[in-house]
């Protein structure tokens, strides 16, 4: 949590110099969404995770110092049908009993100009950690910020779908992930 303390100090320091300093750090789960599209026999099938948490610290004045952590409850998956939900909890897929949570921890926020950023970090699913980078678009409306983006995850990188499912001919390796995280600024951080 040290980085958060650092960030709050940084935010306070910024607040002293700028009346508009603001740190978005309260995820609004009801307004946020984590969806994905898998391809089965080339048929796009939509799914989503209904339960996830995020620790977020984003100061628009100092985007490069931003931090984000995302924890996803894998049991909250909706993979498109009841059969699929039961199946993806199994050992061959997420092995949800042994690995109930997927986690992303950011390592850098790189401004790409305008309201776009590249967020890099480490994604851990099923005990496997991979580097990951994704473009993120920021939309700021008063006390609320929306971070949106999409990226392609390769399921094989995390051993999601082993054994008879390992062949990409039926379920494609590439999974399109779309996220929308809405965060507000905590009263203490907002000035």
């Amino acid at each position: 949590m040290n980085w958060r303390h650092g960030l709050i100090l940084a935010a306070l320091a910024t607040a002293l110099s700028s009346a508009h300093a603001i740190e978005f750090n309260q995820l609004q789960p009801g307004k946020s969404a984590l969806a994905f599209v898998s391809k089965q026999m080339n048929v796009p099938v939509e799914g989503q995770f209904k339960s996830f948490r995020s620790k977020l610290a984003f100061d628009p004045a100092k985007p490069a110092a931003a931090k984000a952590e995302l924890e996803i409850d894998l049991a909250s998956i909706d993979a498109g049908s009841k059969d699929a939900n039961d199946e993806v909890a199994s050992k061959a897929w997420f092995d949800t009993k042994a690995f109930p949570v997927a986690k992303f921890v950011s390592t850098s926020f790189k401004p790409l100009g305008g309201n776009r950023f590249e967020v890099s970090g480490k994604m851990t699913i099923k005990g496997r950690t991979q580097d990951l980078a994704t473009p993120v678009t920021l939309r700021q409306e008063g006390n609320s910020a929306t971070f949106e983006g999409s990226l392609v995850l390769k399921r094989a990188d995390y051993a999601i779908g082993e054994g008879m499912w390992a062949d990409f001919g039926t379920v494609a390796n590439e999974v399109q992930v779309k996220f929308r995280l809405v965060a507000t600024a905590a009263a203490a951080a907002a000035k």
Binding site: M41, N42, V43, P44, V45, E46, G80, S81, E87, V171
Partner: protein
Amino acid sequence: MSSLPSTPPASGTRYSGVAIGLHWLIAVAIAGSFSVGLYMADLPLSPQKLKLYSWHKWAGVTIFLVVMVRLGWRLSHRPPQLPAGMPAWQRKVAEATHVLLYVLMIVIPLSGWLMSSAKGFQTVWFGVLPLPDLLAKNEALGKLLEEVHELLNWSTAAVVVAHLGAALKHHFIDRDDVLTRMLPLLRSPTSGGTK
């Protein structure tokens, strides 16, 4: 119906090669997808099951298109007349059975397509051409359409049994040419009764 040629071919004439070809092509395709559909529905989820579902859906779309061609052919080419001695009620039943079969051949692929959409699995013909989803995902509606699709298929099975039974009855009991004029690989328009 006014566009039909006014005089049907005389009794004793065979169906055209196109009509015979379409009839048997569709018969084999329907028997195949019916069996696959019956088999795949209760399989545990596996890559094989996903493949079978896709193949079944591709077959359904293809059958629908071939049925459209066949319907066009049927409406522009009158089939040979039924045997002269056939009672009026039998003619009516035969006519109704054929109309019903056409209706089922059209409605069944449509019900499968709608059911797929309602269940949230788009139909992508041969994995290449996505068909639009006319229905939004809706679990209850998907379940209902699944039952409709199943019921229509069992109805088809029953009507096909009647259709087959009638053809065999014409061949072995009435000893007319109703069966043989639809059989492929026969060249002469002689009436059946002997092999």
